[in-house]
Symmetry: C2
Amino acid sequence: MLPFARVTILGLGLIGSSIARGIRATMPTVRVTGYDADPAVRARARAIDLCDDIADTAGTAAIDADLVMLCVPVGAMGAAAQSIAEDVPAEAIVSDVGGAKVSVATAIRQALPNNIVVPGHPVAGTEHSGPDSGFATLFKGRWCILTPEGDTNPTAVMRISTFWESLGAQVEIMDARHHDLVLAVTSHVPHLIAYSIVGTASDLEEVTQSEVIKYSAGGFRDFTRIAASDPVMWRDVFLNNREAVLEILQRLTEDVTMLQRAIRWGDGDALFDLFTKTRAIRRSIIEQGQDDARPDFGRAHE
Amino acid sequence: MLPFARVTILGLGLIGSSIARGIRATMPTVRVTGYDADPAVRARARAIDLCDDIADTAGTAAIDADLVMLCVPVGAMGAAAQSIAEDVPAEAIVSDVGGAKVSVATAIRQALPNNIVVPGHPVAGTEHSGPDSGFATLFKGRWCILTPEGDTNPTAVMRISTFWESLGAQVEIMDARHHDLVLAVTSHVPHLIAYSIVGTASDLEEVTQSEVIKYSAGGFRDFTRIAASDPVMWRDVFLNNREAVLEILQRLTEDVTMLQRAIRWGDGDALFDLFTKTRAIRRSIIEQGQDDARPDFGRAHE
């Protein structure tokens, strides 16, 4: 039994287009309608036959959906929900993929008070953007976090869970506030630091940009991948998960200060102890299938 | 014409064992002698036939070398050089692969005042350690920085350059002090931040380690790879490149503070501008062959 028969995807970037491709691969009888606010993206989606239908307005896209999946940047979720308010059937379930959940859930619920809203966040992605960058297996083996309110219809939550499981994800239910804190740690602050370190490196007077690029294989290049992620998406995440990001950032700053002090005073034991502990976490991530076990992420060396 | 006929490698970890394998692959007539202070590593090196000969003391390993390559952690370079002082031929060239060059060059020159010393640093590696982790193509397409003093015999520098080029690297000559600053930016501070962020994440009370691991695909896992690098090697790098690391770290802290402020005050334009600029650097790194062009470093998704 498929959880939905007619899925509408608003926003056809990396995540939206991966969902479209994933549905076609795993639930081929589901009818998928797509819409993107950018006419060029709609044209491209038609050209590559991404969905069964690409609508020219959000309202037409949603008019007969039983699931509407909002795949736009976090800051645009409220407007996207608003844009289908007059047309979406009351019995359609509305979900989303935004990386910050408290603010997004509030915005969607305000715009669509008559629909069941099951906010979600698949913890998956690459640094690429746009309708060409998605692929059907993006969610395979990854976690998708759902943050329904306590009184949300359990059948609706179950259907969304089944939907993500069909795409290959594992599903976890979590409180929206806790989600925002967890993701501040595992995603938002890492991205902020990556953006920052790449910015710092490109602004030095004593070291040229050409040197930074040439010698990036010493570690820096790993940060540039993350710092190549979509600017609008990430701007919105930081503006919409402000509190948790600032809290974790403060904690990180304290720890960096401690390390700074250890280096200044030549406290090798403190450094060694930390560097040993962190190795174990990498091992667990690989054991639990959350990263490639091959050295260097499996990068080609030839 | 091969630059050397008898190469001795002291230290058979990732880099030393990659050099041994690289020589066998590209300069098969060169005789390679290996030594490691750890008897278990020597036994393993013999078992996997890593070198033509594995010596039981550093002195015997160096006794007829025309190149001695020191591949031990930065803090052990002086002692490694000392350990061959009585046996190494005066005409042998001594080089190394340490990630910090001012302190290492001083230590080696003090221990071996009669040899020509051409300090070097191949900017390459993976997060794995030990004699089994090396591979012949590790240096292919990567840069190797040499930091000879101004009065170093040019033929010796040329021979070391040719050696690295045979292993597939591109060679750059640089002042040792400048090397240490450049690498603080492109390697040392990124590693320190990665270690720190992984440490911070594993110490929070509100977010469990199990959550950090499960949702690491949001970006965090990229940092754990770097933070799984050899603890002794990295402790030594920080203790031996203190000044440059602290200077760049200070610069980064200022930039993070600026971002923190932008988030607190909702300055989306400042965030967007930075996140757009950093994307261009990623593009240059890929264009110059310093990273895998495939999304997600080419990680497997299936």
